[in-house]
């Protein structure tokens, strides 16, 4: 497996984007139904309009702040509990069922609780993002840390690393990094979804608000033009994570 240079990757991806856009445009024109599938050209025009009116950046600003705070909180929480579940049987048997249960519970069922306890202000919205994003992190941390490199643990112990927590930080996390990063990538995507859900279910605002408002007006091109930054945000985060990962990886 020869590593492909970043230039190659970028070139292939650009070709991919072009093919995708053309396919979309052609399909949309063939379908000729702007209500369900507007052509790319219309979406781009709508996007331009959103950018020029300043609406998009205002909404994005709000959303990104929410997203970042939520993702950081989710990472911390997912990490602590993932590590607990992976390394302690007691914690596993006491906590795991509830975490699994919590994570498969649709957020919408929890919205009234979030409302009562945290309100629809910033804290409430952050909670929704956390609920969405914490799953992949927690599950990856649990998988990654369960999977211990026995020989390296021995090395660390022999040089004076004592106890579960120092071992966690010196060896296990580092060795589990690829799995953790894979989880983080998915978490970034989920965080974006959580953010949109918080902004459409709990209280309209940010990008989620844009999507919902244009949706209600059946302005599908604007809806897609608002979703597009979301998807780009997801890709952007994933790329960022991939870059961090590359730096941390030794090959």
């Amino acid at each position: 497996m020869s590593a492909r240079s970043r230039k190659d990757v970028r070139r292939d991806q650009l070709i991919g984007v072009a093919v995708f856009l053309v396919l979309w445009e052609v399909t949309a024109r063939a379908l000729d139904n702007p209500l369900t599938m507007p052509p790319i050209s219309a979406i781009l025009a709508a996007l331009l309009d959103l950018i020029l009116s300043g609406e998009l950046f205002l909404a994005l600003g709000q959303s990104i702040f929410l997203l970042i705070v939520g993702l950081i909180a989710a990472t911390v929480i997912g990490f602590v509990f993932g590590a607990l579940i992976a390394r302690s049987q007691t914690a596993y048997w006491m906590l795991n069922p509830y975490f699994s249960a919590l994570f498969v519970t649709p957020t919408i069922a929890l919205v009234p609780l979030v409302l009562v306890w945290f309100g629809f202000g910033f804290p409430g919205r952050v909670i929704v993002v956390v609920l969405a994003a914490v799953v992949p992190i927690l599950f990856s941390v649990a998988s990654g840390l369960r999977d211990a490199p026995g020989d390296l643990i021995d090395v660390a112990r022999s040089f004076g690393v004592k106890g579960e927590i120092p071992l966690l930080f010196t060896v296990r996390i580092r060795a589990a990094l690829p799995v953790l990063m894979a989880g983080l990538r998915l978490a970034a995507g989920r965080g974006v979804v959580g953010m949109a859900v918080a902004e459409t279910y709990l209280r309209l605002g940010g990008i989620g608000g844009l999507i919902k408002s244009y949706g209600a007006m059946f302005q599908t091109d604007y809806v897609f033009a608002s979703i597009l930054p979301l998807s780009l945000l997801g890709i952007g985060l994933v790329t960022l994570i991939a870059r961090v990962e590359r730096r941390l990886h030794w090959t």
């Binding site: 020989d151 390296l152 090395v155 112990r157 022999s158 040089f159 004076g160 690393v161 120092p166 010196t170």
Partner: protein, 273 residues
């Protein structure tokens, strides 16, 4: 400094027994890896261990390092029972045990960082030992960019950098070519004498076992037992004369050779019967 405790053995093993389960299952078949090992190692002694592949040498060393606990028996370091790895003992691993995500320098600095030594002094100490093993050109390389012998030397530098009194070395020169090996041996001898360390050194090279040792421990094919210990009373420093030509050398070497051969013959006899 050590005079007060000079009579206490550096390491003492009493009735060490160790079995391994061959699966997670509680009723799984168990392999007897070590069976009743008693051993006392003097402070400042250089003990080499030799024995057939799979006889339990590595297991014994890991028990001395307290990386695993014996099923029975106890390990004492300077008179005190130990059940946890300690800073007094530093290990060189047979499979190198380098962190693939750390560069050479970071691997060597690892034990020092664990002890929270200031970065500056840690770096200096590490560099010193990297130079000692001849890898100064590769300080910033990752393990996967090094040859087998180079990786092994990084493991060696790491153990040396700890300054531990007791060095536990598992075939530390196994992947190194003859010449470099000789250099390393000389270096190790020098450090051992200057710093009065206690060394337990596994090797499968008979010459090396005799050349370095105050005493050679010969283990018998599994279940691992001490077959015999043979004192090596050759004058030191041994690199200043043709030690291999010394009659004492040939005698010990020949004796070991014969004993190992017998072990093999016994085993074959067992197998065919």
């Amino acid at each position: 400094m050590k005079d007060a405790t000079v009579d206490v053995p550096a390491i003492e093993l009493r009735g060490i027994r160790k079995t391994f389960a061959l699966s997670d299952d509680e009723n799984a078949q168990r392999v007897l890896a070590l069976d009743g090992i008693d051993l006392s190692i003097r402070q400042g002694e250089f003990l080499t261990i030799i024995g057939p592949s799979g006889c339990g040498k590595t297991t014994l060393l890991r028990i001395i390092a307290s990386l695993i606990l014996p099923d029975d028996g106890e390990v004492m370091v300077e008179g005190e029972t130990v059940r946890e790895p300690g800073l007094k003992r530093a290990m060189v691993f047979q499979t190198f045990g380098l962190f693939p995500w750390k560069t050479v320098i970071d691997n060597v600095m690892f034990p020092l960082q664990v002890r929270n030594e200031p970065a500056e002094t840690a770096r200096e100490t590490a560099m010193h030992h990297i130079r000692q093993v001849g890898l100064d050109r590769f300080v910033d390389a990752y393990p996967h960019q090094l040859s087998g012998g180079m990786q092994q030397r990084v493991g060696l530098a790491r153990a040396l950098s700890t300054g531990a009194d007791i060095l536990l070395m598992d075939e530390p020169f196994g992947a190194i070519d003859a010449q470099t090996r000789e250099l390393m041996q000389e270096e190790l001898m020098r450090i051992w004498q200057e710093e009065q360390k206690t060394v337990v050194f596994i090797t499968h090279d008979l010459d090396e076992a005799v050349l370095l040792a105050d005493r050679v421990l010969l283990m018998s094919r599994g279940p691992g037992r001490v077959r015999e210990t043979i004192p090596v009373e050759l004058p030191r420093p041994r690199f200043d004369y043709d030690v291999r030509g010394h009659e004492g050398f040939a005698k010990v070497r020949g004796h070991l050779w014969q004993a190992l051969r017998n072990d093999l013959v016994e085993q074959r006899a067992e197998e065919t019967s």
